[in-house]
Amino acid sequence: MRVLIMAKEGNQSEAATPPTPEAMAEYQKFNEDLVKAGVVLEAGRLTPSSQSKRVRFDGKKRTVIDGPFTETKELVAGYWLWQVRSIDEAIEWLKRSPYDGGTFEVREVVEFEGM
């Protein structure tokens, strides 16, 4: 199954403080382990919400809203798309990640629609 991991890092995505080299190295090591295990399909970091936009739909009406957005705890700062054999496997991998803050949301991707 595929799972989408959304990294919700709270204020971190807004703060422009780059991670320390040590933290970066640990993160890279973790990501490498995931790639070596054939888990990572895709990964990406997102720019801060101050640089993003929202489009709200209301019937025929479309409203474009400029960032930054205030619900900082819910803002997604990065994502992974993983291929795993169960949600539990995703959780086990996630537990091994070097992060010391933030929340990671794990969602299964619906596949083979119509089957």
Binding site: V35, D88, E92, F112, M115
Partner: protein
């Protein structure tokens, strides 16, 4: 919704009954135990191959290594529900298994005495125990050794497939049996016999090099692609595809590509599987019937997998040299992937690529595929000439796709009566229920076309 058998590889790992509270609902303790069991299952999936690989290096054979790993798993099942999952579960399992390995080797030594080698084994294991971290770092070569050993040419294809799914995929015997629609006892016997064969042939646990590496790698790639293909077009049974087998083969291919990044054919086979897997959703119709490549809704192709496949193909090409058979087949698959509509397919290029495949690995099946491409590029008559030359081929005597292709070309040439007979013959030869229905439908259509003349 997926059918039950397509979930074969994803089902619960049968590592012992879960302790569900039969009485007044689960208490906190039982909940914790259930959670621990689920964690153990997932951890086993992540760690088992590395564990078996690391152990096989110290004890020298896969059979013993797997037993030791299973012992460690049993220990985890006994201790973790009560004590909690350790912070580094992989290291815990390895430590536990290695202690048992030392006991085992000591017992063997006492029994046999005569082998000095055993002493060295104990030293090696003890050294390994002190170097837990080092072992975790250098697990790559062990894993590669495990893949090469499980896919050793001394084993039959079936045995290689079963052993690979067991020791590298972490699948249980029951799951493998379900995936291949054979009795559990068949798979169990296959695995036992495979381990015995490896032991009797004194197959060394190692990563081969030189000319041997080339031959052994071919065997590894064959096994991975066999597993993929069994999922991609199930040879028997009710389901046309069993995606879980494809996923498992793809996972192993991706792992192998990281372990052996300089082997172009590894990237070739990964590219081929990624691109073929991109069509999984599109090649099954609403009621489970097969939809053939040119009839597929290309909007349903998985762009992510196509992109990954094209990237893997590029990696194979960048490594230089002439493309191998897998990379060539991936290049053919890429021609389809790049065409936005079936009509835009670059058939002359596909013919040229099949020419190259036929030179490298000539086979009647390749010739048949080439004939299909020729039929598309240069007209059905040209294709039929090539197919007719294959009719007498003994190895294709019961290959259902030969009459299926012939029927298709005859139909395009306005010869529905002959086409109908070919489709009927093809239907009688396939063991896949869904495919048979599709071929029978074609036969009926041809009969109708004949009536309409």
């Amino acid at each position: 919704m997926r059918s039950s058998s397509s979930r074969a590889c994803e089902g619960a790992l049968a590592i012992g009954p879960r302790k569900e509270d039969a009485g007044a609902g689960p208490g906190r303790r039982d909940l914790a135990a259930t959670e621990a069991h689920r964690a153990i299952e997932a951890i086993w999936r992540i760690e088992s191959a590395r564990l078996i690989a690391g152990l096989a290096r110290v004890v020298g054979d896969i059979g013993t290594a797997e037993e030791l790993a299973q012992d460690a798993l049993v220990a985890a099942l006994e201790q973790w529900p009560a004590e909690g999952v350790p912070e580094r579960p992989g290291a815990w399992l390895m430590g536990t298994a290695k202690h048992r390995a030392i006991d085992l080797i000591r017992r063997r030594k006492t029994l046999e005495r005569k082998h000095e080698e055993m002493g060295r084994d104990v030293e090696r294991v003890q050294e390994g125990l002190d170097l837990d971290t080092a072992i975790e770092e250098e697990v790559g070569d062990d894993l590669l050794g495990l893949i090469f050993t499980a896919c050793h040419p001394v084993l039959s294809k079936d045995a290689r497939v079963a052993l690979t799914l067991r020791v590298l995929g972490g699948l249980t015997t029951e799951e493998i049996a379900r995936a291949f629609l054979v009795p559990v006892s068949t798979i169990a016997q296959r695995i036992v016999r495979a381990k015995r064969t490896l032991a009797e042939a004194h197959v060394r646990f190692e990563v081969p090099d030189g000319a041997e590496r080339v031959a052994r790698l071919a065997s590894v790639l064959e096994v991975i692609y066999l597993i993929f293909n069994e999922g991609y077009s199930a040879t028997a049974g009710q389901d046309w595809v069993r995606p879980a087998l494809c996923e498992e083969a793809l996972r192993q291919g991706r792992v192998l590509a990281e372990l052996a990044p300089t082997e172009p054919e590894v990237h070739g086979v990964v590219a081929l599987m990624e691109i073929q897997a991109s069509r999984l959703a599109a090649r099954v119709g609403p009621s489970g019937e097969p939809v053939l490549l040119l009839d597929q809704d290309r909007a349903r192709w998985d762009r992510l997998l196509i992109r990954r496949g094209l990237a893997a193909l590029e990696r194979a090409e960048r490594l230089g040299g002439a493309l191998g058979p897998y990379a060539l087949q991936a290049a053919i698959a890429a021609c389809h992937a790049r065409a936005t509509t079936a009509a835009e397919t670059d058939w002359p290029r596909i013919v040229a690529l099949y020419d190259a495949v036929a030179q490298l690995a000539p086979s009647p099946v390749v010739e048949l595929n080439r004939a299909v491409a020729v039929g598309m590029a240069f007209g059905p008559a040209a294709g039929l000439d090539l197919v007719d030359a294959l009719v007498a081929e003994p190895s294709l005597k019961s290959y259902h796709l030969l009459p299926a292709v012939r029927g298709d070309l005859l139909r395009k040439l306005g010869r529905p009566e002959e086409a109908r007979a070919e489709f009927e013959r093809a239907a009688s030869l396939t063991e896949n229920v869904r495919e048979r229905e599709l071929l029978q439908k074609r036969a009926v259509e041809c009969a109708a076309e004949r009536m309409a003349r």
